[in-house]
């Protein structure tokens, strides 16, 4: 379970990026976080990854209070969370296989284990045939699939997707969302930060709307107030 209790975050300028935010996300949930640019969505992602610490309040993930995690324990904590970005963040000088294997190498998995696991993960995202391709040879949707495979290969219990369809056309965006839904169906908690209102409305998942650093609505079934 992910739990934010009265979380605030102010940057040096003093304007709060998040202001007294409280929410709970159950294990295995699929949640959209929506809001305008600068509403505090990305700050929330950074807080969940412990890239930032809250100015006030507490964050608990899987029973662990993030404020009590020591610096040395951060890498181990992050292995339980997969992250996907709008710009994919693939290593351009490495092929599909190497990009996915990279996530296992940096946590010290043995090569024999990596050789078995990467093809399985690439099959899951539908890229088994393109394992030798380099990012520039792939479409945006394919690149995002590689990023998802990389995020999932260490078997995280949570997947954070920050605008995963932001750089994709409509078809690719839907394919990625279907993939995320499949991943969620297997038990992974999926949190998607997005601007894509159509996807949010159609998928009928829980939607948390953030505005000027505060949660203005939390709808269980895809409700999204886009009057603004």
């Amino acid at each position: 379970m992910i739990k934010l209790e009265h979380v605030s975050k102010s940057y040096s300028a003093g304007i709060p990026a998040l202001n007294d935010v409280s929410l709970e996300i159950e294990d295995g949930e699929f949640v959209f976080i929506v809001g305008d640019s600068g509403s505090g969505k990305s700050t929330m992602i950074k807080l969940l990854l412990k890239e930032l610490d809250p100015t006030d309040g507490e964050i608990t993930i899987g029973g662990k209070n993030l404020g009590r995690i020591k610096r040395k324990q951060i890498p181990k904590f992050r292995r339980g969370i997969g992250v996907v970005f709008q710009d994919f963040r693939l290593l351009k000088d490495r092929n599909v296989y190497e990009n996915v294997a990279f996530a296992q190498k940096v946590i010290g998995e043995p090569n024999s284990h990596i050789r078995k696991k990467v093809p399985i993960m690439l099959s899951m995202v539908g890229l088994a045939a393109k394992y030798r391709s380099y990012p520039k040879e792939l479409s945006g949707g394919e690149q995002q699939r590689v990023a998802i495979a990389r995020a999932l290969i260490n078997e995280p219990s949570i997947l954070l997707a920050d605008e995963p369809t932001g750089n994709l056309d409509n078809n690719n965006a839907w394919e990625i969302m279907k993939l995320l839904e499949e991943i969620n169906a297997k038990g992974t908690t999926v949190i998607v930060v997005t601007h894509n209102l159509e996807i949010v409305k159609v998928m009928k998942k829980r939607v948390i709307t953030v505005k000027k650093g505060t949660i203005v609505s939390d709808s269980k079934q895809g409700g999204y107030d886009d009057e603004d």
Binding site: P75, K76, L91, I107, G108, R150
Partner: protein, 302 residues
């Protein structure tokens, strides 16, 4: 660190060097120049010290004793002097020996004149000790001690030689130390620059590594490996070069400049490099390690 993460770090360290060829080469060249200069200074100083040592070995202090002091007393004083740490060797010259030496020099061919002194040694009170030192800089402390001994009439020392040698030795040490220090600072700076460029080139990869959950040491290790490799290669190249150059130069000087060869005796290459190689490698690796560690601390917040 697991064995495969160790090899991963080493491999990435090599890759870093390959990615920043120009910066790596510049750092290696500077490091090589530093170690080369260090090597030259070391060789000069080692040979110079050996020569100074030879000269120092010839510098002695002479002690004369009070009139009428029995020889047994002089010998027991000699035993005490011989125990001092400053003393490398001590030679006793009895009044008899002193007169015999004098006769040989000043009455050569006029032995009948010297015979006039038979039974009446004019140098009866000239029994003395020639004291040779371990280190010329210790001369003044030894002289103070000798002068304080009861029965000692006079202590003769070559203060000028001792001080000049000692001061010159220090001066050479300070100058070469200063130059080497400056060069080493330049090397640290350049390695630091190379690693900074490496970090900025791999910024994206580092960010991904951190998000995936790579341990801090795994993010840092490739840059430390990079610095150490630059230091190692930057040290090995000039040391090999210096070894062969030194061997050739000492042979060349001995062949072409006989007068230098007769004055100076060069230390054999294997003796000089037995110390210079490990010291040079340690310096190179140490500077590489230091340069990369400092940069990582500054630029790589993990």
């Amino acid at each position: 660190m697991r064995i495969n993460t160790f090899f991963y770090s080493v491999k990435q360290g090599f890759k870093n060097i390959a990615r920043n060829k120009m910066f790596s080469l510049a750092s290696m060249a500077t490091m090589a120049a530093c170690i080369f200069m260090f090597g030259i200074f070391y060789i000069i100083i080692t040979n110079f010290n050996a020569e100074v040592q030879k000269i120092e070995e010839g510098v002695s202090v002479t002690v004369f004793f009070d009139k009428g002091l029995p020889e047994s007393d002089i010998l027991s004083i000699g035993e005490e002097i011989g125990k001092r740490v400053e003393v490398s060797r001590i030679e006793y010259v009895s009044a008899e020996d002193a007169w015999n030496d004098y006769k040989e020099i000043y009455f050569e061919g006029k032995e009948e004149l010297a015979a006039g002194f038979a039974g009446d040694n004019p140098l009866a009170n000239s029994a003395n000790y020639q004291i040779y030192l371990n280190d010329v800089s210790m001369q003044s402390s030894l002289v103070t001690y000798l002068e304080s001994l009861p029965g000692v009439r006079e202590v003769k020392q070559s203060e000028l030689v001792a001080n000049t040698l000692s001061d010159f030795n220090k001066l050479v040490g300070y100058i070469s130390g200063g130059i080497i220090l400056i060069l080493l600072c330049v090397a640290v700076f350049l390695i630091s620059n190379t690693v900074t460029v490496g970090i900025s080139v791999r910024k994206e990869e580092i960010a991904i590594m951190k998000l995936i959950g790579a341990a801090d040491y795994l993010v840092r290790a490739p840059f430390v490996v990079e610095g150490v490799l630059i230091g190692l290669m930057g040290a090995a190249i000039p040391l090999v070069l210096l070894y062969f150059l030194y061997q050739r130069i000492i042979v060349y000087i001995a062949d072409k400049f006989n007068f230098i060869g007769s004055m100076l005796e060069f230390i054999p290459a294997h003796t000089v490099f037995r110390t210079l190689i490990p010291v040079g490698i340690f310096l190179g690796v140490g500077i590489g390690f230091l340069g990369s560690r400092l940069t990582i601390r500054k630029h790589l917040k993990v």
